[in-house]
Amino acid sequence: MIKGRPARPLEGENLETKRWEDARHWISIYADLLEFKRGILSRIRRDVANLQVPAQKAAAIDLKIIETQMQGYQVRMDLWYGRVWELQGLWVDPTGRVVRHQGGEVALTKREFQLLQFLLDHPHRYFTTSQILGQAWADPALFPEEVRNYVRRLRKILVDLKIPADLVNKPGRGYSLVFRSPIAAVLP
């Protein structure tokens, strides 16, 4: 659902930037592009449903192209989110499963690290318990209670390291890592 190849960078886009304003600009551009394509996709899907079968097959090309473009934009937006974290001074070391933020450091268990990495890669998106089991841990056989347990642990780590984000839960939508100000200021 989330994985895919990043789209080609847009004109003037440079992930190496040191400026927060650039990150804010490009996250906003990709958010707009995704919203735009969602609107077109929804329009085409609605219209295609009224076509006869051969025409539906031909129109499927349009749907596939837009879906692939959207995956590419999503990956680029996630790269920019990662850049925002770097600019914020958050470093995640997968080798040692260590997370550092502004002088603080915590070593994580394998599952804590996988969950944190997953949520950092896709901030401001909600994931159900089963999505977390399948996508963050690739182990759908685990009990849903495990997710709640690890969410509790990660919340404590966020507090201990003073990472300006909250792991929030909304009924029916799941869990999401949400930036707090000033990081929230870069979001569209």
Partner: protein, 113 residues
């Protein structure tokens, strides 16, 4: 009819635009010159429907573009617009074949039926 230009440095879009090849028929379409009137009417209807849809999609894209930033408009101009235009051209051309076939079978080859 305007041919859609390929875009330098965007092989993804170029491939999609090439998908708008006019010679490319749909599954089961067959050759217009060999078809019965019923078959020709059926495919004329199919192409009329899908061309109408593509034209509506293009209108919608252009309408939504008006509210976007310059960067978004530029990207959509490079990616969505040429693909939809190429598809619409393809369908318009195929519709033309079937229009002509229907006219011919109706003994009215001089104009569209």
């Amino acid at each position: 009819m305007n041919k859609v230009k390929l875009i330098k440095g965007r092989p993804d879009v170029d491939a999609a635009v090439r998908g708008g090849d006019w010679g490319q028929a749909m599954d089961g379409e067959g050759i217009p010159g060999d078809s019965t009137l019923a078959h020709a009417l059926y495919w004329r209807q199919i192409y009329t429907e899908i061309l109408t849809m593509e034209e509506k999609v293009l209108d919608r894209i252009r309408q939504l573009m008006n509210t976007q930033s310059a960067a978004v408009r530029h990207e959509v101009e490079l990616t969505n617009v040429p693909v939809v235009v190429a598809q619409a051209e393809r369908f318009r051309q195929r519709l033309g074949y079937w229009d002509a076939r229907v006219a011919h079978l109706n003994g009215n080859s001089g104009h569209k039926s």
